[in-house]
Symmetry: C2
Subunit: 196 residues, 2 copies
């Protein structure tokens, strides 16, 4: 059983986290899904949702971490203590996934330096400015570089998570999850209708 | 400002609620989004998510209610006290939306009698058996009958919610929300790739 750890924070974008959670949750025999925040306790997401979390320090090494984006990234990007803890969590993970502007926070850790990554198309200029040592790819539904998966905005996180499942366990398992949740999966990571 | 009230319960399907929440949350000048459960307090959704809610009795008449589905429906369908409170909440609402097997719970209130409705395709036989006075439509991404919107499984709730916004506020506003969250909207309620 692999730990799949959502790294939440105040102001995270709801669907960035719960779209992928819906997918990973359908593979309950493979993945154990947990919700964390820097200090634990209740975190408030973008849609007034209040979620109970555990502190980052309880995350075990070797699992998978997913970092959503959202307006809260603008505040956290300048919080050195937060970035330090995020660096440790991402460094110890087998795979790191980000959705939307979650890739800006990950870029700030320097772990994406000289790697390809993408982000939300409406916030792209800001994300690029966070760390220009990252090879930012504008036209992509999601990007894979080694153990790092980064997706475009919000809904793209679901397509990426299915892509991640497909890469690790095969296309059939990913398609089966998509069918189960009646999701019309855009399975081509290069098909990005929102890049202008 | 219209109240948009999510009616949660233990075992609700995460994306059934938070997909539509993501969409409604983007219309923050029009809709106020709140989370309720029968008695309030912390509710545990399908993916280990724990959410803070208010009690049903605080719901004001004239708003919109959305009822997700999920495995928890199987328990709640036989809970007369729950169905009684759900009936009151749905009866007082301007519009009632359901996702997935949420339509089974709504069917149990008898408010859907002699109306068209749909549900999750994999649970369709069970949902039909709950109340055969409903005109169940198998091939539909979502169905509109008067003030009742019912959708197919999980992800279909997002398409339906965008359809609801389109019906009330116009296609442009709905498409703009879809673009903002980089969502590839299936805007045709009769296009249902999961009905076999």
């Amino acid at each position: 059983m692999t730990a799949f750890n959502m790294l939440l924070f105040d102001g995270f974008e709801t669907l960035d986290a719960f779209g992928p959670a819906e997918i990973i949750g359908k593979l309950a025999t493979m993945y154990s899904l947990k919700y964390f925040s820097c200090n634990g306790g209740i975190v408030t997401g973008s849609k007034n949702i209040q979620v109970l979390t555990r502190p980052f320090q309880e995350i075990k090494a070797g699992g998978i971490v997913l970092k959503p984006g959202g307006m809260g990234t603008r505040k956290h990007i300048d919080d050195a203590g937060f970035i330090h803890k995020l660096t440790a969590a991402a460094d110890a993970a087998a795979f790191v996934l980000t959705v939307c502007t979650g890739s800006a926070l990950l870029a700030k850790t320097n772990l994406l330096n000289n790697r390809q990554a993408t982000s939300n198309k409406k916030a792209f200029d800001w994300v690029q400015s966070v760390n220009e040592a990252v090879i930012w790819v504008k036209h992509a539904r999601w990007v894979v570089d080694g153990r790092f998966y980064t997706s475009s905005g919000v809904s793209a996180g679901m397509d990426m998570t299915l892509g991640f499942i497909s890469d690790l366990h095969g296309q059939n398992i990913a398609q089966n999850v998509a069918d189960t949740i009646e999701y019309i999966w855009n399975s081509d990571k290069n098909l990005d209708p929102f890049s202008f």
